[in-house]
């Protein structure tokens, strides 16, 4: 060996066997992206897709969700804490990596970089989206029937609309490739073949989520649901306009 006296005095240090908690923290980061955050993302896409059935159906779904027992605890333990942990630890991972796509322009390496960018974009979007939808304007937890109106008003701004499109796309991409990475790192998809197939499945999932998101957005621009008021009119008249 070249330098016997002090093996690794400079450069990248060797592994610190038996030291630190980064294994637990990193695996928690990985797991939290699937459960509960990924599970919540799916629920959120499905719930919002009720808008395609009209303002009444949308309000009913919001009422169901806001009517769940222990809502503040569900929000805090199931969404806020895991999401913040996943995001902040994610930035920590991002800043410690050294992306090198220009030197090694290969698919996996590109996806490595994209996973960081989509995560960052999704985080900014989610922070803004949570603020506008949950913590400002009409309080939907106590006023579920105003849900359609509130989203529709928000989407009137083309900037907000564009941000929704970007946010939905980034979050879907990040989640779908996150599943691919989870399966590879936890040793579920070990073989080359299984990983190739998982890649395809995740691509389909990403495209499906993006499509659902965009179709849901489009529902708020449908002519028959134009200018939906804060208080929905008596049930029948709205239901009729659906058909």
């Amino acid at each position: 060996m070249a330098s016997v006296a002090s093996p690794v005095a400079r450069g990248v240090p060797p592994i610190r066997a038996g030291q630190g908690h980064s294994f637990l923290l990193r695996r928690l980061h990985s797991l939290s992206g699937i459960i509960p955050i990924g599970a919540f993302l799916l629920e959120h896409f499905i719930s919002n897709a009720f808008a395609t059935n009209g303002p009444r159906a949308y309000a009913d779904q919001v009422k169901f969700l806001t009517g769940l027992p222990f809502v503040p605890i569900l929000e805090t333990v199931g969404i806020y804490i895991p999401l913040l942990y996943h995001a902040l630890y994610g930035f920590y991972i991002w800043f410690r990596g050294e992306s090198n796509v220009s030197d090694y322009p290969w698919a996996g390496n590109f996806m490595y970089a994209a996973q960081r960018w989509t995560g960052g974009i999704a985080f900014i979007y989610i922070a803004w989206h949570t603020y506008t939808m949950r913590f400002s304007g009409i309080h939907l937890l106590t006023n579920s029937q105003a849900a359609f109106h509130k989203v529709q008003m928000e989407l009137q701004s083309p900037w907000a609309g564009a941000f929704y499109v970007i946010g939905i796309t980034a979050a879907s991409w990040h989640f779908a490739y996150g599943i691919y990475l989870f399966c590879a790192k936890w040793g579920i998809t070990v073989s080359e073949t299984s990983r190739k197939w998982m890649g395809r499945v995740c691509l389909v999932l990403a495209l499906t989520l993006i499509t659902i998101g965009w179709v849901t957005m489009a529902a708020f621009f449908k002519p028959q649901w134009k200018n939906i008021p804060e208080k929905l009119p008596p049930e029948q008249s709205v239901e009729r306009s659906v058909h």
């Binding site: 060797p14 592994i15 610190r16 490595y112 990475l181 990983r195």
Partner: protein, 248 residues
Amino acid sequence: MAKTVILKIKRQESPKAAARWEEFELTWKPGMNVISAMMEIAANPVTRDGKTTTPIAYDSNCLEEVCGSCAMLINGRARMACSALVDKLDQPIRVEPFSKFPIVRDLAVDRSVIFENLKAVKAWVPVDGTYDLGSGLRIYPTEQEEAYPISRCISCCCCMEACPQFNEDTGFVGAATIAQVRLFNQHPTGKALKHERLQALMGDGGIQECGFAQNCVQVCPKDIPLTKAIADTGREVIKQAIKDFFRG
């Protein structure tokens, strides 16, 4: 005029000296590779603009891609210089030392970190003793076929150089060492240290730092299924962690 080959080589006198570039123009010869080009420079160390310089320092040995010594950056990519055929490279050929390892001189870098990592994970079969241990257990051909590709590792460190997660902040162990854990954990006698190897990989800089960019498997000159080894070992490490927690 005879066909020539142009090389741009990054040079550095000592670990702390500033780096500089030198350009060389050589007469083309059939079958030339980057090492043979540098041998010619050593025979006549004159730069393209006629300045006399010193021969280039680099590690090399076997010249047939099995010793792992001559790994360097050629046109920006980690690879073995002996198998880098000049005819297949864009010119001028850019030759640089590995960027993530301390420079000794010119293209020679200190790669001791991989040996420290291999020691930390006990990448060997424990057969040392004061008495005859008898013959080893039988290894079936199916196991052999799994093990052989991983056993080809030449510790060149290309996988580590190309890895976006291998740097001073993360102190990531790198794909090669993880693959060796996979190899020795499969060995019927090597298995004795399986839990120690897996526990070592849970330390800071361990397998968790892998970002699955998959550059390692692309640059590996020995075509080792590194991503497969990482996925496989990833599962074993998690199983070991759960076992350690619940069973103590």
